[in-house]
Chain length 248, copies 2
């Protein structure tokens, strides 16, 4: 990912967070205010404000007519495309909950920073197409941030399902994944085309290679993970403010 | 889908076609010319022209750095979002190749028009979320077009893989699918938000419930299907020109 990394201090950070429940406490913490984009019908919601002179914007993917959040790759790609286009942030971060792999040292409530991004539900078994389908997008390297805040680091593998089949398990293993989410690789693809520095911060709600059914464990631990996310996001903002992308 | 169906004659038809090989003959047939959008970095390609007073635009999803086409839901959602936003067409059509279900009467080279759109690779087994994940987006009803041109009609089920697992088979059956593609349901989601009349035209390259390996059959029949598509798309344009959306 040939990024146009500026030597200037980061002036605008864009957080893409799929679900309102994930974003709410952070929006409240920074007292971000709703704002509109110029686009007339995109379903995403935008909140913005300033922290120590740095503009912080949070974009959520909005709600489906049924009332559930617009999770998954399609709404995430749209929100990131639109927000990056209209707001031109200096740094893009995808934040949210995820499954974690015990084999990679993940425990409930852990905070992970991305090392790279793959898809595990895009299979095109034709030479050349297979690599495109898998993705394997670079993440901004955040070794200083990871070191300073004591987070874990690993590959984020993305799929549009909360559960996982045997085929998903096989491909997530091939991807050497530490965490499993439903948006990050699609946002990474958009950020790559936009030439924007991008990483993800994912908090573990359930253990993918454990013995529990994902959606039960997810619902049970959403509170714990939300608390971790609520602790992590202000730490990340505090670390980012006043730095250059190259300092992260 | 509460569509803003105009009483006016269709003045601009937008075709979204994932692959260049699928779009090439149609672009040549109508002598469409490349044009740019105002967006600076989106990877899609745009070709436009006029046929009997109706503007016809074809948008392809562009190529990955590796040289393969940007297939799948993420690029399709982005292209349709951008093209609908910038061009404001009266009618949106997603065209391309697809797998067909023998159980639904599909044979190699058949042309299908969408009756509705579902996803088969988005599983969220939590009440409320399950329906969102499945999608089930309405298609513009095209009974006159289907009758006049002798096409088949059925549910389009979308997933990001060319192959299909047992779980995919189970969900495609639940979706009552006639054809399986890799883009349509994502475009339908965008068109729904944009309040644009939308349907898909899919030509069968392989039999999903047959005994052949998908990618082998796909490669073998891409030529036959491309010929069918090349025959069908000008027929569709000819039928659409001079009509209102309600006449389709």
């Amino acid at each position: 990912m040939a990024q146009m990394v500026s030597e200037a201090t980061i002036a605008h950070v864009l957080f893409l967070i799929a679900m309102e429940a994930e974003a709410g406490p952070f929006i409240a913490h920074l007292a971000l205010q709703p704002r509109s984009l110029s686009h007339p019908w995109a379903p995403c919601l935008v909140y913005t404000g300033s922290y120590k002179g740095c503009t912080v914007t949070v974009v959520t993917n909005g709600k489906d007519v049924s009332g559930v959040d617009n999770v998954g790759t399609t709404p995430a790609a749209l929100s990131s495309f639109l927000a990056i286009t209209e707001l031109s942030p200096d740094l893009v971060i995808n934040a949210g909950t995820a499954g974690g792999f015990r084999a990679k040292g993940a425990a409930i409530g852990d905070t992970f920073i991305s090392s790279s991004f793959c898809h595990h539900d895009r299979r095109i078994p034709i030479p050349g197409w297979d690599a495109y389908a898998k993705g394997n997008h670079a993440s901004l390297s955040c070794v200083n941030l990871v070191g300073a805040l004591g987070y874990k680091m690993g590959v984020v593998t993305t799929g549009n399902s909360l559960d996982h089949t045997e085929m998903d398990d096989k491909l997530m293993l091939e991807n050497d994944a530490s965490v499993k989410d439903m948006e990050a690789a699609a946002v990474a693809w958009v950020a790559m085309h936009a030439d924007k520095p991008f990483f993800a911060i994912k908090v573990v709600t359930d253990i993918v290679d454990g013995d529990r059914v994902t959606h039960e464990e997810f619902m049970e631990n959403l509170g714990t993970a939300a608390t971790s996310l609520q602790k992590a996001l202000p730490q990340v903002v505090e670390f980012v403010v006043g730095k250059r992308v190259a300092d992260l």
